[in-house]
């Protein structure tokens, strides 16, 4: 009778052990799949941050180059002609005879230069860009140019970067949940290898499995 009860108990413990290890394996597989998906999502976010960085930089650099490299240079040439014409006229007022005529002719020539350049100087044509000191507000011009494409101005590569960091932490934490599950396997193996202490090892295995489940829940909640 005692032998039968012993065999019955051993068979029950064996089934319990098999169930514990099967549940742990399935749980570990789910955790692994979840961590893998999260890791992929983190990579996607980081790549998005790089894409946005390149896009934002290219747009900003091109706008700056256009304003300061092309438009500002042309506007300054218009200014030069304007200032020279003004100074020649001012000098002509103090002069007489041929000197006066030459200075007025020079002023007229600069007026023509200004007129010719003005047609291709958008900044100099628009009164909104004029400043009290006679120069042009290139910052305002750059703002107008940039705001033609507000989506590019609104790009914030740090946002997908932060999202990637958050998801990566989630993936790493999820993977770490497999450590208590690994302990469950350790106790399962010990339960099999030390039949005399099967029950305590099984209990420890169940406890580490439960700890893994709690850890997984915590990881999901704090993500």
């Amino acid at each position: 009778m005692a032998e039968g009860a012993h065999a019955e108990e051993a068979a029950g413990a064996g089934r319990g052990l098999a169930l514990l290890l099967a549940v742990t394996a399935a749980f570990a597989a789910v955790i692994g799949a979840r961590a893998s998906l999260l890791a992929g999502e983190a990579s996607g976010n980081w790549q998005q941050a790089v894409r946005q960085e390149v896009k934002a930089a290219a747009a900003a650099v091109e706008d700056i180059r256009f304003v300061y490299g092309d438009e500002a240079a042309q506007a300054f040439r218009v200014l030069e002609a304007t200032v020279r014409a003004e100074e020649y006229r001012a000098a002509a007022e103090q002069a007489t005879g041929a000197t006066r005529d030459i200075l007025l002719a020079e002023a007229s020539a600069q007026d023509h230069v200004r007129g010719a350049l003005l047609a291709s100087a958008e900044v100099a044509q628009d009164a909104r860009y004029e400043r009290p000191d006679g120069t042009y507000d290139l910052g305002l011009r750059l703002r107008d140019l940039r705001n033609r494409f507000p989506d590019l101005v609104a790009l914030r590569p740090d946002d997908p970067q932060a999202a990637g960091d958050r998801v990566a932490r989630h993936a790493i934490n999820a993977t770490a949940v497999t450590i208590p599950l690994g302990l469950t396997f350790v106790f399962g193996a010990l339960a099999q290898g030390f039949p005399g202490r099967r029950r305590p090892f099984l209990a420890a295995g169940v406890a580490t499995l439960a700890a893994g489940a709690v850890a997984a829940a915590v990881v999901e909640l704090i993500a």
């Binding site: 700056i64 020279r84 020079e106 400043r131 120069t135 703002r143 690994g182 290898g193």
Partner: protein
Amino acid sequence: MAADLDVEAISEVSGETGFARWLALLIGAAAILAAVLATLQVDAGKQEERALHMASRLSVRVFEGTAGGSPRFSFQVNGMQRALTLAISATAAQIAVLERPEVADAIQARAEADARAAERLLDMAVSMGSAPTASSGLDEATRLLVGSSPVDWSGVAAEQGRQVDIADRFAERGNRALFGLSLVALGGVLTGLAAVLGRGTPGMTAAGAASLAHGAAALLAIAAVLA
């Protein structure tokens, strides 16, 4: 004659239980080592990847900073050069006209006008080429970019190099963890082989080799953490 046979005791005497326990410990060690090494590998992999992405972003920023700050500076310098060229021409004309007294009045008056114009243009070049202020309404990122000089980006360049170093360090950690995982897999196969071969010399040899593989994997896990 009924007798209670203690199978475990018989196995113990035959040495089979000891061998089975050894194999059980090897399986348990493989499970925990695999979990720890996988966590280390994922952590190292993500940290390396993040650092490489940051290095890429910072490379773009260094380029953006140097390419975005220089047009304003170049414009300012070119404008000042134009103004100075006009001033130099005025001075040169005033010198040259000393030998031509018949046109001295006109050339002198023109040169003086040019000198005054050059002075005004110099101020205008400085004014237009100054970094835009917040009152321009320009977004802060572009404003900082336009107002920057290459020196301002040296810190970013240094940080870019640091990120590459971080990536290298985590790559080394990841490699060690991956090597450890390979050894765990090898140890697992050898453990299975030992179980099939049983408690003979070949089985004991396989179990011994599995133990060595797991031991090496544990050392690699420690080495990975220290990397």
